[in-house]
């Protein structure tokens, strides 16, 4: 468990350092995800303990957004002043994005041959 947590943190650290050094337009953890993915591809499988550690973290993922979400309290004044344009833009745009992405994927992806 500790070994796999170390591997995950190591990938994140390598991601953060690479992003800073190379000025890449992605966050460090996203590059860390790519790095861990490449390690898995090379290794050709997921060690059991790594799967358990990752699944544990991912099960709690909703919780992890709560502290950042609470930060919305610092913007109540600004949000209150522009509630209508911002609220409408958020709802319309989020729905449009979901509809277009899923609709396009349904159009292009073939169900056939997929287990």
């Amino acid at each position: 468990m500790i070994a796999y947590l170390t591997l995950i943190l190591g990938c994140q650290l390598a991601g953060e350092v690479s992003v800073t050094l190379l000025g890449l337009p992605v966050p460090g953890p996203v590059l860390g995800m790519v790095l861990l993915f490449v390690i898995l591809l090379i290794r050709g499988g997921i060690p059991e303990g790594l799967g358990q550690t990752a699944d544990g973290l991912l099960r709690a993922m909703s919780l992890l957004f709560v502290p950042a979400g609470t930060g919305i309290m610092m913007h109540f004044t600004l949000l209150g002043q522009a509630l209508l344009p911002l609220g409408a833009a958020l709802i319309v745009s989020t729905l449009a994005t979901i509809a277009v992405t899923a609709g396009m994927m349904r159009l292009l992806a073939k169900e056939a041959g997929d287990a």
């Binding site: 790095l35 898995l40 993922m61 992890l64 911002l86 041959g113």
Partner: protein, 240 residues
């Protein structure tokens, strides 16, 4: 009474207190969500945030004080994002089988996410700084904040709009996808991740691993696509 006051001052200064508050609020929110038969409107992140904000406002506590405790939970977002490599690896055969469809759908979604947010905010009379702040709202927070700054927006407001987008997508996304009759977990996951980043991904992972893997993939790819495309679109729209 004075003793109570002293205990409160002591508790409020402990990181443990706000860390525990975060976990208790989320546990309670999850309980309500499950008890309701998983009604999307009772999203656990939304309820937990509402409860914590009410407690902080009610007790006159600053967000910075709260975050000293809550940062231990917040820190795990990084490792959790790295961990998305595992569902992605498990579903890699599906991703490879529809690589072209994924690329086209994702790019379409990415452009629609930015243009529709900018368009609606502009039509409804939002200021240029607000339009720049909302443009990258579908992208995961660290990238969104950097793009917002580049376009002349307010990065900290963008962070709040990103979280709101995540919660809106997690609540309304599954309802819209059901209305559209989209049952393919690949399409559902890709759409949630593109529109509402990590919060959509967290929601997708709870329901189905294929959806979770495609959502995590979409979140990462959309961050990259938006970081490259949005500044170009911005110059085309507003002439820099």
């Amino acid at each position: 009474m004075r003793d109570l006051q002293q205990i409160w001052v002591y508790l409020n200064a402990l990181p443990l207190f706000h860390l525990t508050l975060t976990l208790v609020a989320f546990q309670a929110a999850t309980w309500v969500f499950e008890k309701s038969g998983r009604k999307p409107l009772l999203n656990p992140v939304l309820i937990a945030v509402a409860v914590i904000v009410a407690v902080l406002l009610g007790t006159g506590t600053e967000y910075a004080t709260y975050f000293e405790g809550a940062q231990f939970v917040h820190f795990l977002l990084g490792p959790a994002t790295v961990s998305l490599a595992i569902p992605l690896y498990r579903q890699w055969h599906r991703v490879r089988a529809s690589a072209l469809a994924i690329a086209v759908s994702l790019l379409s979604g990415s452009v629609v996410a930015a243009l529709s947010a900018v368009g609606v905010a502009w039509v409804m009379g939002a200021s240029p700084a607000l339009i720049a702040s909302i443009a990258p709202k579908s992208v995961t927070a660290p990238v969104a904040m950097a793009i917002s700054e580049q376009l002349g927006g307010l990065p900290s407001l963008t962070a709040a709009l990103v979280i709101a987008t995540g919660i809106i997508g997690a609540i309304l996304g599954p309802i819209l996808l059901n209305l559209m009759g989209i049952t393919d977990w690949k399409a559902r996951g890709l759409a949630l991740g593109t529109a509402s980043h990590g919060i959509g991904t967290a929601r997708a992972l709870q329901v189905n691993e294929v959806a979770g893997a495609f959502s995590g993939l979409a979140m990462g790819l959309n961050a990259l696509a938006t970081a490259i495309l949005l500044p170009v679109l911005w110059v085309l729209l507003f002439g820099g």
